[in-house]
Amino acid sequence: MAKSLGPVKRKFSPWADPSAVPFIRFENITKRFGTFTAVDNLTLDIYEREFFSLLGPSGCGKTTLMRMLAGFEEPTEGRILLQGKDISGVPPYRRPTNMMFQSYALFPHMTVEKNVAFGLEQDNLPKGEVAARVEEMLKLVKLEQFAKRKPNQLSGGQRQRVALARSLAKRPKVLLLDEPLGALDKKLREETQFELMDLQTKLGLTFLIVTHDQEEAMTVSDRIAVMDKGLIMQVATPAEIYEAPNSRYVADFIGDINILEGTVTSTDSALGMPGSVRIDCDGIAVSVEQECQAVKGDKVAFAVRPEKVRISPDQPADISANAVYGEVWDIGYLGDFSVFLVKLADGRVVRAAQANVSRLVDRPITFGDMVWLTWPLDAGLVLTR
């Protein structure tokens, strides 16, 4: 990619450095349960201090992959390297990873304090040290005054923080988080996402998170692996995943997108720009500025995000490409954004999102209006997979 894609969370990209040694390496991992293949010959590198997300629908194998790293499942084939060492056959209680469970798995018969101390006590640390570390951890998650409570005397958010403190207490090399925020309500979830990122930076640990919530993955991660049916579809930064998905699956899975199937008509520089691709999407002429493997006659998909589609009642100057005309069929008002569903003459629906930048609009677009949808050359992309 010549142009940089979107904002970067921080300057951190060991994956782009060919000399960097991966911290965790899944090497040709296959996991079968009977005849079902949960993970299919998968190879993945994760770097030290990375906040890495495994994202996918349920049953895509993301949890199985994490459980193999924790030691609860053994790979059927392949091996897992942690700091270059093969950890196959090492039982979970001897692995330098700790996991935060989806259900939190707090020990109900122990106080908050005892829960956090549990892992430290297994290492036979002196009592004073255990107490000091527990105090430090509870302070970290702001639960000092709840030390003597039992888990069932805490709210959901507090339980989540106890689980986090417990899994961090042993200072694991890798912290595994299985749907860590799934049980929290939206507001609390957003707050906690930022707390997690903050913690990860502060402690300098490697975090591996499993989630089906794409917003969560986008917010917290350095890189995301989008999974489907035991395979990795794409591994990239959140911005790349969003702006440059490599396949129809990833494009459709992440965010909202218009996908138009079509055929490549030319890949010349007819528009005066290098690498331009022209596609005929059943009557809609599309022109894209993109370096692309596709050649004339290829069946491809054109994808464009709704927020990159402009909507206007006025006919644009140039309607030879990247412009469609249709009727406003439905409007989704989201507060910050309005999503317009525009029905074309042939029945296809194209979505356009518009930020509601001012409270009052002179001539608002409403149901039944005939509108033009346009997008610039670099707004969409050609998907060959």
């Binding site: 924790a70 030691g71 209680y93 469970f101 798995a105 549990f118 892992g119 069932n152 709210s155």
Partner: protein, 272 residues
């Protein structure tokens, strides 16, 4: 209104059917007369003579020891069986093993007793105290296995995984996490096993030998010679013990429930 009167009648008849025999037994244990069917005024004399009836007291002591020992062994074995059945879902012969755990529950006691008797004779063990203990262990462990199994089915496995993940080896995890959490079910299993051992007549009479007469055997053999008020007295004590047990159990269940509700209120407030 008609239907509610019908309900009341059915309820009364049902309870009467269940409890009148027991009430008669209890009432006649306080009878001053030696005749079981004639009321001769209130007296506690049978409770006094009961204590001095050495045969009855010996039998009670045997029963208590058999009950405690067999219930304890049965609880350990039954808990292990339940763990195996719940945890190892895919081992060879699981269905068979599972069925074999349930079989003794529906097996006629006469057959269980007889087969154990044949076993002891074949192996050449002298029948007595320990043969009764073994016999009771074999049939009570099945009940324990079922009680514990039903608790384990709702046990959140991620709790054990969390312990393993935090560096606790499997055996230690069992004693520090699993056992404390399933302990109420284990205790309930023990109580059930003890009660079953306490009131078993058939299996005990097949497997017992000289010097190991349990209370039910003693009572049964005495009754054949005629019901004495002493028997009524010891039965009343047994009923009393069981009743106290049930009351304690239900009170503690109630308290656990109330504590849970209170905890949830505290949690809902979310503050100190």
């Amino acid at each position: 209104m008609k239907s509610s009167r019908f309900d009341a009648t059915v309820l009364t008849l049902g309870f009467a059917f269940l409890y009148i025999p027991i009430i008669i037994l209890v009432v006649y244990s306080f009878n001053a007369s030696k005749l079981v069917t004639v009321w001769g005024g209130f007296s506690l004399q049978w409770y006094r003579t009961m204590w001095s009836n050495q045969g009855l007291m010996d039998a009670a002591w045997v029963t208590a020891r058999v009950g405690v020992i067999s219930a304890t062994i049965g609880t350990v074995l039954g808990t292990l069986a339940a763990l195996a059945l719940v945890r190892f879902t895919r081992f060879h012969g699981r269905m068979l093993f599972s069925g074999m755990i349930y079989a003794p529950l529906v097996m006629p006691e006469v057959i269980t007793g007889l087969s154990l008797l044949l076993l002891f004779v074949a192996v050449g063990i002298d029948r007595g105290f320990w043969t009764v203990v073994i016999a009771h262990t074999t049939f009570t462990m099945c009940y324990v296995a079922i009680v514990v199994q039903s608790r384990l089915l709702t046990f959140d496995l991620s709790l054990e995984e969390a312990a393993l993940d935090l560096g606790c080896p499997p055996v230690k995890t069992f004693f520090k996490i699993t056992l404390p959490l399933i302990f109420p079910a284990v205790i309930a299993g023990w109580m059930l096993a003890f009660t079953l051992s306490l009131d078993d007549l058939v299996i005990a009479s097949f497997t017992t030998g000289p010097g190991a007469t349990t209370l039910p055997i003693k009572i049964y053999s005495q009754v054949r010679l005629g019901v004495t008020p002493e028997i009524n007295a010891i039965c009343t004590i047994l009923i009393g013990l069981v009743t106290i047990g049930v009351i304690i159990a239900s009170i503690s269940t109630k308290q656990t429930e109330m504590r849970r509700i209170r905890d949830e209120h505290v949690a809902a407030r979310g503050t100190t």
